[in-house]
C-alpha cells in the first residue's frame, strides 16, 4: 500500500525474526549486560515480556559507572481474567521469589510481575507453565488479552461469554512454537511447516490489537476503547449474538496532531456461533492487510477505519467472511462501576468484589490484601477473577463457605477498606508509570492515591463526596488507564504536570476534551475546586459531573 513503501524498523525485525525467535537465546547469554539485544527487545513483547529499568536509580548508578538496573516485566494471558485457587498460590510464590512481590492487576483484567532479572526469566516462565499459566501474546503486534464483563450480576451469560473469550483467544494465537523452544527448552521444530501461520504470516499485525466483550448494561470493561468491541445481545436472557464495534483506541502523542483517541464505531449485528467467529477473524485480516506499517503512531485499527471508511471496512469483511452483517440491535449502557462487596449469582454462588488501589496487590497500611487472598486461595473454597477496573473478585463461593471466607477478608481489613474507601477512589484508575514504565513523563499509580486524598476534601466541601465521579490518571498520553473515556482525567506532560480533560460520560460512550494544560498540583486542586463549586450550584437534576462539565465548560472551550 501507498504508506507502506518504507516499512518501519519493527516490521523488518518481525519478518526476519524466524517466527519471533530472533537472537533471544543468545541475548540471554550476554554476561556483560542485564539487558537483551536491541531487536530482541521488540520480540520478547510477543512472548509477554518487556525490558524495563528502574528510572529512579538511573542517575546515581550512572555516577557509579554502573549500567541501568534492568529487569523484565511479565504479563500473563488470562482471557476474561479468570484464575483458579492453585494458580493463585503458584503466582503468589513466584511473585515473592522472582519479582518485586507486588502482583499488579492491569486495566485489561490480567496481572503483571515486575523486576524479574534476566537470569530469572526462564525459571519464572517454567514455574508459570507448571501452574498452566503462560504469557503468550499478551504484548506485541498481535491480539492481546481479551477482556470480558466480570460483574457477577450478569452471570447467567457468563459461562457462554467466557467460552467466547477463550475460543477467540485460541483462534487468534500465533502458531509459532518459539515460546516453548526459547523459554521452556522444548525440542526445536524440525518441520517448520507446523508453524505456518495463515493469519499472522511472518509479519504479524501492524500494531497491537485488542478485543473486549461486554454484557450490557454495565460497560465495566470500556468496550468502545478496544480495536474490536463485542456487545452481547440477548433476547429473553438468551445470548443471540453481538453488536460489533471497530476502531476504538485511547492513545495520542503530545505535539503530534495526526494522533487522536477514538471510540469504536458499531458496524452492525452478527449472530453467535461460527458467524461471529468468522467475522472476528476477517476483521483482523483486513487490519493485517490495510493497516499502516510505516508509521507506528498511525498503525492502530482506528486509523485504518478512518482511512478506508467504516462502510468499506464492513463490506470488505463481509466479502472475506461471506457473512452479511445485519443492522445493529438496540442496547444501552448505564455505568462502568464494579459493584463492591458480596453479590449472589443466579446459581446462588457468592462473589466478593474487593477494591484494590491501582490494582497493586500488596500488604500496606490500608489492607493486607496479598496475605488475605493467599489465605483464601489456600482454603481452595474460591476462585478469582479480575475486573477491568483493576479490582479482584473472590468468586464461586458456596453459601456454606461464605462465612469463613468473610472471616479471612475481615481479618486483613479487606472488607473494612472496601467499605470505607470513597466512591471517587473506588471508581478511579491510574496507570503504572514511574519508576518502571519507560514512556512515563509523570507519575501514575504512585501519585494517584496521594492526590485523591487532597481531592476528597474538596468534594466534601460541596457535599459531593457521594458522587461516583469517574476520574483517571496516566503518566503519558498513551492512555493505559483509558483517560479519554473519563469524566475527569489527568494526563502527564512532565514531572509533576498534567493536562486536565473533562466531559466524558459515566457509561463510557463519550470522549472527554482537554480543558487546561500542563497543570501542577496546586493548579489542579484550584481548578477542580472551582469546577466542583460550580457543579454544586448549576447542576441540573441528577446531572453527572461529566455531563455538567461538557455543558458548562468544555463544550465552550
Amino acid at each position: 500500500m501507498e504508506d507502506n513503501k518504507h516499512l518501519s524498523g519493527i516490521e523488518k525485525i518481525k519478518t526476519s525474526s524466524d517466527h519471533l525467535r530472533g537472537e533471544i537465546t543468545e541475548s540471554l547469554k550476554d554476561e556483560i549486560t542485564g539487558a537483551i539485544r536491541e531487536g530482541d527487545q521488540a520480540l520478547i513483547k510477543f512472548h509477554g515480556m518487556y525490558q524495563q529499568d528502574n528510572r529512579d536509580r538511573r542517575e546515581e548508578r550512572a555516577a557509579k559507572k554502573l549500567d541501568r538496573l534492568y529487569s523484565f516485566m511479565i504479563r500473563l494471558r488470562l482471557p476474561g481474567g479468570l484464575i483458579s485457587a492453585p494458580q493463585w498460590i503458584a503466582m503468589h510464590h513466584i511473585a515473592g521469589e522472582k519479582s518485586t512481590g507486588v502482583i499488579k492487576i492491569t486495566t485489561r483484567q490480567t496481572v503483571q510481575l515486575h523486576g524479574i532479572v534476566k537470569s530469572s526469566i526462564k525459571p519464572t516462565i517454567a514455574s508459570f507453565n507448571a501452574a498452566m499459566l503462560d504469557s503468550i501474546a499478551t504484548c506485541g503486534d498481535i491480539n492481546r488479552n481479551i477482556t470480558c464483563t466480570a460483574h457477577p450480576g450478569q452471570s447467567p451469560l457468563h459461562a457462554e461469554i467466557f467460552g467466547y473469550a477463550d475460543a477467540i483467544s485460541t483462534m487468534l494465537m500465533p502458531k509459532t512454537k518459539a515460546y516453548y523452544e526459547i523459554w521452556l527448552d522444548q525440542e526445536k521444530l524440525v518441520d517448520k511447516k507446523e508453524e505456518a501461520d495463515p493469519l499472522y504470516q511472518d509479519r504479524y499485525l501492524p500494531r497491537k490489537f485488542k478485543i473486549g466483550i461486554v454484557i450490557p448494561p454495565n460497560n465495566d470493561i470500556d468496550v468502545l476503547t478496544n480495536d474490536l468491541g463485542l456487545i452481547a445481545i440477548t433476547e429473553n436472557n438468551e445470548l443471540t449474538g453481538f453488536n460489533v464495534a471497530i476502531g476504538g483506541g485511547m492513545s495520542t502523542t503530545h505535539g503530534n496532531a495526526a494522533t487522536y483517541a477514538r471510540l469504536g464505531t458499531v458496524i452492525g449485528f452478527v449472530p453467535k456461533g461460527d458467524d461471529i467467529m468468522k467475522v472476528i477473524y476477517e476483521i483482523v485480516t483486513v487490519q493485517r492487510d490495510y493497516g499502516n506499517r510505516s508509521d507506528r503512531k498511525l498503525a492502530r485499527l482506528k486509523y485504518t477505519v478512518d482511512k478506508v471508511g467504516a462502510d468499506w471496512y464492513k463490506t470488505e469483511v463481509e466479502k472475506r467472511s461471506g457473512i452479511t452483517i445485519a443492522p445493529a440491535k438496540p442496547y444501552s449502557f448505564t455505568g462502568r462501576h464494579d459493584n463492591y462487596g458480596w453479590a449472589k449469582n443466579h446459581e446462588g454462588k457468592w462473589y466478593y468484589t474487593a477494591y484494590v488501589a491501582s490494582g497493586r496487590i500488596t500488604d500496606d497500611e490500608d489492607q493486607a490484601i496479598k496475605s488475605a487472598l493467599f489465605e483464601v486461595a489456600e482454603t481452595g473454597l474460591a476462585s478469582f477473577r479480575f475486573s477491568g477496573n483493576q479490582n479482584v473478585i473472590v468468586s464461586d463461593v458456596a453459601e456454606k463457605d461464605k462465612a469463613s471466607i468473610t472471616a479471612i477478608l475481615d481479618k486483613y481489613n479487606v472488607t473494612g477498606y472496601t467499605q470505607s474507601a470513597s466512591p471517587l477512589r473506588k471508581n478511579a484508575l491510574a496507570c503504572v508509570a514511574l519508576p518502571t514504565c519507560p514512556l512515563a513523563l509523570a507519575e501514575g499509580q504512585r501519585y494517584m492515591p496521594v492526590l485523591l486524598s487532597k481531592i476528597e476534601p474538596l468534594l466534601a466541601r460541596y457535599g459531593l463526596e457521594k458522587e461516583p465521579i469517574i476520574m483517571r490518571m496516566t503518566g503519558c498520553p498513551n492512555g493505559c488507564a483509558r483517560p479519554g473515556a473519563a469524566e475527569i482525567s489527568l494526563v502527564g506532560t512532565a514531572p509533576g504536570r498534567y493536562n486536565l480533560h473533562l466531559g466524558g460520560d459515566r457509561a463510557g460512550t463519550r470522549l472527554n476534551t482537554i480543558y487546561r494544560e500542563h497543570l501542577d498540583e496546586q493548579e489542579i486542586l484550584g481548578t477542580l475546586d472551582k469546577l466542583f463549586a460550580g457543579y454544586k450550584v448549576d447542576r441540573e437534576a441528577a446531572e453527572t459531573f461529566g455531563d455538567y462539565a461538557l455543558r458548562k465548560h468544555v463544550a465552550t472551550v
Binding site: H6, S8, E31, I32, T33, G34, E38, R55, R57, R58, E59, E60, R61, A62, A63, K64, K65, L66, D67, L69, V117, S119, T253, H254, G255, N256, A258, D295, K297, L441, T493, A494
Partner: protein, 564 residues
Amino acid sequence: MLAEPKLTQFLNLLKDASPEDVAWIKGYLAGLTAPAATGAAPVGGVHKVTIAYGTETGNSKRLAADFAARAKKTGIHARVVNLEQYRLTDLPKEEYFLTIISTQGEGEPPESAKKFYDHLHNNGFKLDKLKYSVLALGDTSYPLFCKAGEDIDEQFQRLGGSRIAEIRRCDVEYDDDASQWINTILDKLSTAAAEPVTAGVTAPAAEKKSTGKKSYTGTVISNVDLNDRGSNKATYHIEIAADDVEYEPGDAFGIVPENPVTAVEKILSLSGGTLPDRVITYKNESYTIGDLLRYKLNISHLITPVIKRYADLTGKTITATKYDLPDLLQAHPVKDTEQFVSMLGMLNPIAPRLYTMSSSPAAHGGEVHTIVAKDSFTVDGRTKLGLCSNFLGALPEGTTVNFFVQKNKRFRLPAPERDIIMIGPGTGIAPFRSFLAERDATDAKGRNWLFFGEQHFATDFLYQTELQTWFETGVLTKISLAFSRDQPEKIYVQHRMWEHADELYQWIAGGAHVYLCGKKDPMSTDVEETLLKIIETKGEKTPEAAVDYFQQMKNEGKFSEDVY
C-alpha cells in the same frame, strides 16, 4: 555560475537525481562551504577525536559506534563516550568533539544527556579550543524537530567553539543522512592525515624516564563509591589531578594516610595532660605533638616489639600482642607526661599504602585514578576500619593530597600487537582498566580478554559501563564474569577460566601475556593452580613439563602478577 562542460555535467547529474540524492548534494555542499561560513579552524592531521552520544532508544549510540569503526579504518582514533558518563570538567580540554544526540519529550534532550545539556546552557565558560559538529536525530512528526541537537550546536558556537561541519538533522529513517555526515567529518579530519603522530598522543611507554619516589601534590577531583545500594562492599574510585605526574600503566599510587582525629584526641586525653602544641623532635625533625600524632606516628595495629618496649618503659606486664595505641594507653596508662613523651619516641612512622592505578597516561593525561576497597574487620568483637582505605574513602573533592608513584616494571603492557589475558577480580581490575584505556587510546592491535569477578552483578560490577563501551567498540575482545553470590553455588574467576580452558590455552600457546592482579589469598593461589592445570591438560604435558612451561612464561615476562 559554472562554465561548460561542467555545467552540463552538473545538470545531468541533477536531472536523474532522486530527492534523497538532491538532499545529499545540498548537505554535502553545505558541508564543504561550512568552515568558511562559520569561520572554522582548518583541520588536518587529526588522530584523536571524541564522539559523544545522547540516546534514549539506542540509535545515536549505534551511530557513534559506526563512526568509531569507520574512523579507525582511516587511522583516526575516536573515543566513544555516553553523555550520561561524560565528565563535564573534560570539556574545556577537548579539541575535536563530535556529538550525536536525539531529541525526546517535547524538544528535550534524552534523559541521559540532560546533565550535559544543562551544563552547556548554565555555565559561562569558554570552549575556544573546541572544533565540533553535531548529528541530530529526530522525527519530523514532532513540532520541535531535532531541537536538542540544534541547541547544542548553537551553544557550542556561543561558547567559542568552531564548526568543522554544519549540523545535520535526521528523520526517523536516519541511515543515509547519518552516513553522509560521517563521510563529511572523516573527509575533513583526514585531510593531511599523512602528518606524523604528534608526540604525547601515543608516545611509547619506554621513552618515559623513571621518577623514583618523587612526591607529587594533587587535588581530588572525584571520589565515588562504585558499589550500588545494598552491596556488602564499598569500593571508592578516586580521581586525582596532578599535571606533572609521570607514570605508566601497571604502576601504583603511594600515600601516607592521616590518623583519625577522634583517635588522636583519645590519645591526648590519656597523655597525662600533655599540650597538643608542645613541640618535640622525632627522627631529627620537630613537630607539635598534635601534628606528630595526626600525620606521622603509626597508632593502629602496633607491632609486638613496640608493645614490649612500652611494657618495659612503664614497667607493666602486658600479655596481649595486638593493640591500637588508644586501647593500650587505656588499659595500661602512662605514669606522667614525660613517660608519654618518651613513649611517642618509640613508635614507628605511619607506613605508606599502595594502590595500583586504574588510569592510563594516554587516556587520562594529568590525572591518576585508583580504586580502593573499604577495609573493615573485627577485633575481639569490635568492628574496626582499615586506616588508609577509610582515610581515602572519606576524602572530599577538592582536597589536596601528597602522593608518590611506585613503579612496577614487572607489570607492563607487551608490544601493541600482542594478545593479553587479564585476570583481576575485585580491586584487581585496577591495572586492567588502565591497560584497556591505554590500548584504546593508542590503538594497540592485540586482542584483550578480561576475567573479572565480584559478589553480585547488580551492585558490584566495577567499571561496568566503561567495560561495556570497550566491548562494543571491540577494544575488549572477550570478557568472562564470575559473580560469586548470584546463584546457590559459589563461582569464581578460576571456574570461568576452566570453562574456557581450550580457548585460554590457544591464546597462551599463541604467545598471549597473562596478567593477574588482586587479593593474594586465596584468589591468586587458586588462579595460578588453575592456570597450571590448563597448561597441563590442554597442552598435553606431564605435570613437570607444565611447571617448566609456566616457569618459562614467568621468565619471559609472559606471566606477571600484582597481588596483595
